[in-house]
């Protein structure tokens, strides 16, 4: 009778990391579908290429690091990074953009720091920021949503898309589908009253409450995020704090629509990568703060930074920068936001010296 010797507990719950990762991927589906609806097949091509690159890079680095390749690939974490990177990149971007992004995300930001669980920065955002800084032209070439394309414009078909991605297409083709994003349009506004701006730009004119197309993309990611909340994949603290602080900032600096006004809270919430960031990026547990109190601070600060950069910085959107900046601060936040433990009158800071003599 060979008895198993194992320490307690002897039973375990049903959750596992692989399932969590799969759930996250599942939750991006509404967003992906909406993106595809508004921007065409490009998002799918991004996802497929990013997944392939990420898995290949992950596998080869694991091989070099002499880790069991199959065991780690099966945790789906590389795929989550690939999906997030894929939806963040502009559709129809060249393949090497995706490759470089994947290389930095998986190879540098994740594996060089020790693999899953050890990366201080969100891998997808590292890849994205590297690309945004290095290749601004390719990275800002977003298509116009299908609902506001002019008569002369159309979204590329599969062949055109592939030729765009693999670099055979003439640059003329590009003009056939690109357009400013709502945040771009708002940022480049000089002197127009908000109402006039809204009237003059198709992207606002055709919108229901924020920017055409983009509002629905954000709604879709919000739905995915709520699903994840419901499945208790993460807690509400960071996303809600981020949305709240972003909305609060927008509210303060929104004066009803003068030519110096900031965008309205609704525009901020439902434009760019706001919802993707709030529910899929800043909730990455590895690189965020650990306690609930810490997550409130973490999310809140991200919201503020997003607003500051969107409003006064050089970039129209700022989720990636804000997330990376707060990744830096996460360990620091952790030090000062330990929860109050049972039997203690107040929470302690992790930096406090411990007087062991007081313990039994």
């Amino acid at each position: 009778m060979a008895l198993i010797k194992q320490s307690s507990p002897h039973t375990r719950g049903q959750t596992d990391t692989t399932k969590i990762m799969q759930t996250v991927i599942l939750a991006t589906i509404p967003g992906i579908l909406t993106l595809t609806y508004f921007f065409g097949i490009g998002t799918f091509i991004n996802l497929i290429l990013a997944s392939a690159f990420c898995l290949i890079i992950e596998a080869s680095v694991l091989k070099v690091r002499r880790r069991p390749v199959g065991f780690f690939l099966k945790d789906y974490s590389a795929l989550v990074t690939a999906v997030l990177l894929g939806v963040a990149l502009p559709p129809y971007c060249p393949w090497w953009i995706i490759f470089i992004g994947s290389l930095f995300a998986i190879g540098i930001a994740k594996q060089l720091y020790g693999g899953l669980g050890y990366n201080p920065f969100n891998p997808a955002m590292v890849g994205y920021v590297v690309l945004l800084i290095s290749f601004p032209v390719e990275m800002t070439r977003w298509p116009a949503p299908t609902s506001i394309l002019t008569d002369s414009q159309s979204l590329p078909g599969l062949t055109d898309a592939l030729s765009l991605v693999f670099g055979f297409a003439s640059p003329v083709l590009l003009d056939g589908y690109t357009g400013a994003t709502p945040l771009d349009a708002f940022k480049q506004n000089t002197g127009l009253m908000a109402d006039n701006l809204y009237a003059s730009q198709a992207i606002f004119r055709e919108a229901h409450f924020a920017g055409a197309g983009w509002e629905w993309v954000n709604v879709a990611f919000l739905l995915g995020g709520l699903f994840l909340l419901y499945r208790k994949v993460f807690t509400w603290h960071a996303p809600i704090a981020m949305l709240a602080s972003l909305g609060f900032c927008a509210l303060i600096f929104y004066d009803g629509g003068s030519n110096t006004s900031g965008a309205s809270p609704l525009l901020h919430w439902f434009s760019g990568a706001t919802m993707l960031g709030a529910f899929f990026i800043i909730t990455d547990p590895v690189s965020s703060a650990v306690s609930n109190k810490g997550r409130l601070i973490y999310g809140g600060c991200i919201g503020i930074i997003i607003y500051v950069i969107r409003q006064w910085g050089n970039y129209p959107d700022a989720v990636a920068f804000a997330v990376l900046l707060m990744n830096f601060a996460a360990p620091f936040i952790d030090y000062y936001t330990l929860p109050r433990t049972y039997g203690h009158t107040q929470s302690r800071r992790a930096t406090d010296k411990i007087d062991t003599s007081q313990r039994r």
């Binding site: 009778m1 008895l3 198993i4 010797k5 194992q6 320490s7 307690s8 507990p9 002897h10 039973t11 375990r12 719950g13 959750t15 596992d16 990391t17 692989t18 399932k19 969590i20 065991f71 945790d75 974490s77 693999g115 899953l116 669980g117 050890y118 208790k232 994949v233 993460f234 807690t235 547990p285 590895v286 965020s288 650990v290 306690s291 609930n292 952790d334 330990l338 929860p339 109050r340 433990t341 049972y342 039997g343 203690h344 009158t345 302690r348 800071r349 992790a350 930096t351 406090d352 010296k353 411990i354 062991t356 007081q358 313990r359 039994r360």
Partner: protein, 794 residues
């Protein structure tokens, strides 16, 4: 005092369950309950075991002390081991039969640890000691009730096994407001308390009333039960009617039954970190403990059996069994028809906090509330751990509001400081974090190991601190001794300086005197001198007294040593002949030394008495001082040598054969030292003789003569003595090996003859030292022979 109320069964309905505010605990998990399978049949008594294994350490605290011997026949319920101190418990025989062994036996412990157990082979009769029934127990004082509970050996039956009587007797100053009876049983699978509440509610409630009485009737007495035990709840509610006891029901959530968690649920209070529940006026006892206390007090039943849930799919029968303590688990498994092929592990306790056993040959103990015998399918081995993604599910599940993911991180990097600042020691090891961990990380194991390491480090640090303190004290002591020595030295210096001054004054006075009254004012001079001499002689007298004291003490020591020797001879007569002889030698040497000292004394007395002239006084003072110093030094040397001989002999007596040689060597060295000291003393005596002679010489000179001694006139005897002494000293120095040997032989012969004399005297007196003395004589003879042999060889 409400003892009267209790007696009368006075209805005192303070509050109903509905009125009680319940609090919630953070975290918690909902593992599959698996309680039904063991609740299908009532409590079954297990058959009497063929043998029982009763560990001496079934509780928290000092292990019990066995009071029976192998071969003794004992009755069921008979005391076989006593509690050792306050936080300890006795052990009773759980069957009647014969004690077949008191030996190390594997315990039910996660590590497979062995410890002392009393093993009884049952005679099958189960003949019990008479049990003392106490129908009137309500009239007893709390103290005597506590004593009954302690003597019944009752340990907390829910978890750790803390002696119930200790918990029921909180420290002075803690006024108990809440008595909480734990019927939560939040661990999956376990139903022992559930079925006990269903079947024996009367006794439990009587037990709760008893505990309440012992604690001075706390204003809140409540039985806490999770809502997954509807039958138990109904029975208990029915039974507590017309008592001040409440039954509180709260939602099922693991680990609501943890002591701290239950307190939080029922009172909203938290036990401060590092404190006991009594510090916030709460005492928690398990329902089974309350039951056992009542049985012990009312019926005099010691704690010899308990109800244990035996469950798991490897068993054909899953049920609650009333089993004698000490029953081997294999018996219990057989009784429940185990399928050994399907059995994959064996868990004592619940699946969340229980521990896996190494074998089924360990006994049921006081804390065994459950035995799980699962199949592999039922409890599969845990899959390999993945990386921690800090998802925080563990923090959500932690009932103590810790950050398990951070603790894990710091445990892996052994960052003990951070672990403590993250309150590692507030972890109750409930296993909720491991249960929810999506990466299958055995978190609790990391925490246990980290706690162990930190505790170990603390113990080591404490040790280091203590030895550092010791060292510092020692340094301080040495410094103090040095300072004292220095002070003494200064004082001596001062004294010497004063003496010199006096000397100078005396000289001056003498000169003046001689100048002024050149012509034989001898009368004055002589009276002066006499007076001075008298004052001087007081010094030698004191020294003499000192000396005598020293000799006396030396004698005393020697006597003690020989007494010890005699004693040791009685115990180990064959080992000690050598050493007996050595004691004798030492004795002889001491008498020699004594004699010599006496000689010295007479000579000094003589010299002081005879030197009655002012001319010698000055010199004499100096001489006296020098002599004293020298003599004292030698005496000290002798004393220390004697001491070390004594010590070594004592050690020799205690030592075994292996160490004997070493000690003998030491003894020899010490004896050599003694010899040397004696030789030096002898030399010194010779010198003294010389001085005495010189002084004699001086007495011959007229008192009125100048202060300077002039060694030219008749002094043959004195100079002869000087010459003799000097010759002797130089001869000793230049002695050849042969001569030395010869001298040794002479010495030995002398000692031998003395020893023989003593022996003869002892025989005449019939002294009990006779044996020792004869041994000494023989030893001396052997030594003499050896020396002669050496001489011949040379």
């Amino acid at each position: 005092m409400t003892a009267a109320n209790l007696q009368a069964g006075n209805p005192q309905l303070i509050a109903t369950d509905e009125e009680r505010t319940l609090f919630t605990i953070p975290g918690g998990v909902h593992p599959p309950e698996n309680k039904q399978q063991s609740l299908n049949s009532p409590i079954v008594a297990a058959p009497l075991p063929g043998k029982v294994i009763l560990p001496l350490s079934q509780h928290i605290g000092a292990p019990s002390l066995p009071i029976v011997r192998v071969g003794d026949h004992v009755l069921t319920g008979q005391l076989i081991a006593e509690g050792d101190g306050y936080v300890s418990l006795p052990v009773h025989a759980s069957v009647s039969g014969t004690i077949v062994a008191i030996e190390e036996h594997p315990l039910p412990h996660a590590s497979g640890l062995s410890d002392l157990c009393i093993i009884i082979e049952s005679d099958g009769k189960d003949a019990s000691i008479p049990m003392q029934e106490r129908p009137d127990y309500r009239n007893q004082s709390a103290k005597s009730l506590l004593d009954i509970i302690r003597e019944a050996g009752i340990a907390g039956m829910g978890g750790a096994g803390f002696p119930a009587a200790v918990k029921l007797n909180p420290r002075a100053g803690c006024s108990i407001e809440h008595l909480i009876i734990n019927g939560t049983e939040c661990e999956p699978y376990i139903t022992a308390d559930d079925i006990l509440m269903q079947e024996r509610a009367q006794d439990i409630v009587a037990g709760v009333e008893l505990l309440s009485k012992i604690l001075g009737e706390p204003k809140d007495v409540v039985i806490g039960i999770e809502d997954n035990k509807p039958e138990a709840i109904a029975t208990m509610r029915e039974t507590v009617k017309n008592t001040p006891i409440q039954v509180a029901v709260f939602p099922t959530k693991y680990p609501s039954g943890g002591e701290k968690q239950l307190i939080q649920i029922l009172t909203g209070k938290e036990v401060p970190s590092g404190e006991l529940p009594s510090s916030i006026g709460v005492v928690v006892q398990n329902v089974a403990t309350a039951y056992a206390c009542y049985r012990a007090v009312r019926y005099g039943e010691p704690f010899i059996s308990r109800i244990t849930t035996v469950v798991g799919e490897a068993l054909a029968e899953q049920r609650n069994v009333e089993v004698r303590l000490g029953t081997p688990l294999s018996d219990l498994l057989t009784f429940n028809r185990v399928n050994e092929k399907k059995l994959s592990r064996l868990i004592m306790g619940g699946p969340m906090m229980g521990f896996a056993l190494h074998s089924a040959e360990v006994p049921v103990v006081k804390t065994t509330n459950c035995l799980i015998a699962p199949t592999k399918k039922e409890m599969p081995p845990s899959p390999p751990a993945l990386a921690c993604i800090r998802c925080g599910l563990c923090a959500e599940a932690c009932p103590a509001s810790l950050l398990p993911q951070q603790l894990y991180w710091y445990a892996r990097s052994e960052d003990h400081e951070k672990l403590e600042s993250h309150h590692l020691f507030d972890c109750i090891e409930c296993g909720a974090c491991s249960f929810v961990c999506p990466s299958n990380i055995p978190l609790v194991q990391y925490y246990r190991s980290a706690k162990g390491k930190i505790k170990q480090q603390e113990i080591e640090k404490e040790k280091a601190d203590r030895s550092r303190q010791r060292f510092e004290f020692r340094q301080e002591r040495i410094a103090r001794a040095e300072a004292e020595k220095e002070a003494k030295r200064k004082a001596r210096q001062q004294a010497a300086l004063e003496a010199k001054q006096k000397l100078a004054e005396a000289k001056a006075a003498a000169e003046q005197h001689s100048e002024a009254t050149q012509q034989a004012n001898s009368d004055d001079a002589i009276t002066n001198a006499l007076a001075k001499t008298q004052t001087k002689t007081t010094d030698p007298k004191e020294q003499q007294a000192k000396l005598e004291r020293a000799v006396q003490s030396a004698e005393g020591r020697l006597q003690k040593a020989s007494a010890r020797l005699v004693e040791s001879q009685q115990h180990t007569p064959d080992k000690n002949d050598k050493f007996a002889a050595q004691v004798k030698q030492a004795e002889v040497r001491l008498t020699d030394a004594k004699k010599k000292l006496n000689d010295f004394l007479t000579s000094t007395n003589f010299s002081t008495n005879t030197s009655g002239t002012s001319s010698t006084q000055t010199q004499e003072a100096q001489n006296e001082a020098d002599k004293d110093k020298e003599r004292l030094r030698l005496e000290k040397a002798i004393n220390s040598a004697m001491n070390s001989i004594e010590k070594t002999q004592a050690r020799l007596a205690e030592a075994d054969d292996e160490k004997r040689e070493k000690f003998e060597k030491q003894l020899n060295a010490a004896q050599e030292r003694l010899q040397k000291a004696e030789t030096k003393l002898a030399e010194f005596m010779n010198q003294l003789e010389t001085t005495a002679a010189q002084e004699k010489l001086q007495t011959l000179q007229p008192a009125t003569v100048d202060a300077q001694p002039e060694p030219d006139t008749p002094m043959d005897a004195a100079s002869a003595a000087i010459a003799r002494a000097q010759a002797k000293a130089s001869a000793r120095a230049s002695m050849s090996e042969e001569e030395k040997l010869k001298e040794q032989i002479d010495g030995l012969t002398k000692r031998l003859s003395k020893a023989e004399e003593k022996l003869a005297a002892a025989i005449e007196e019939g002294s009990d030292k006779q044996e020792a003395l004869s041994l000494g004589v023989e030893k001396l003879k052997i030594k003499l022979q050896q020396a002669q042999q050496q001489l011949e060889d040379a």
